[in-house]
Symmetry: C2
Subunit: 107 residues, 2 copies
C-alpha cells in the first residue's frame, strides 16, 4: 500500500494533448503531466498550493502575472488562489506537479 | 518569486553519495535526490508525509516492512512516522521526493 505503480495511477485528460497521471497520499497529490507540443492549460486558479518541477522539454508558464520559459530542472510554487496558465511549444514538456491538499476533483 | 531555478535550490548531502536539492512553498517541499551507485539512506522516520516518484535509475526501498525494487515512474507514499530506508545498486537513481509539511530541518 506504500508503493504505487504506473498501472495504478489515475489518468485524466486535462485539455487536448495534456495527460495527467495521478497518485496521492493524505497531504500531497502528485500529478505527472505530459504536454504534447502546442498544448495549452488555460488560465485558472484553485485553493490548493501547487508546487512542481519540469522533468523534460520546456513550456511557457504564467503565474500571477510573472512569466517563465521553464526548462528541465526549473521549479515553481503557485500559492492557492493565484491565477496561472501554461503552454508548450515545438518540443512538448513533462512536469511533475504537486497539489496540497490533494485535489478532490481529480480523485 | 513564483519560479525557482536550479541555482537557487538549497543543497544538502544527506549521506555519502546522496545529494538533495531543495525548494519549497508553504505546504510542500520538493527534494530532488541524486543517489550515486551503492548509496544508502539508513532506516529513519519523521512526522512529515513523504510522497515521491523515481525519475531515473532504480533503488530498493523499504517502507513499513514492505519492499520495492523501484524504477522510473514508480511512486510511493510514506505516512508520517513510518520507518523507511533506501539503497541504490549498480546504476544509481534520481528521485523527486515531497515532504508535507516542509521539513524545517532541511531549510
Amino acid at each position: 500500500m506504500f508503493f504505487k505503480y504506473p498501472q495504478d495511477f489515475k489518468e485524466r485528460e486535462l485539455a487536448p494533448g495534456i495527460l495527467l497521471r495521478l497518485v496521492w497520499g493524505e497531504r500531497v497529490m502528485l500529478s505527472h503531466v505530459t504536454l504534447q507540443p502546442h498544448s495549452t492549460v488555460p488560465t485558472h486558479s484553485h485553493p490548493h498550493e501547487q508546487t512542481g518541477m519540469v522533468l523534460e522539454g520546456e513550456l511557457d508558464m504564467t503565474v500571477g502575472g510573472q512569466t517563465c520559459r521553464c526548462r528541465k530542472g526549473d521549479a515553481f510554487t503557485i500559492p492557492g488562489g493565484v491565477e496561472h496558465s501554461a503552454s508548450s511549444g515545438e518540443v512538448g514538456a513533462t512536469v511533475l506537479d504537486t497539489f496540497s491538499p490533494p485535489r478532490e476533483d481529480y480523485m
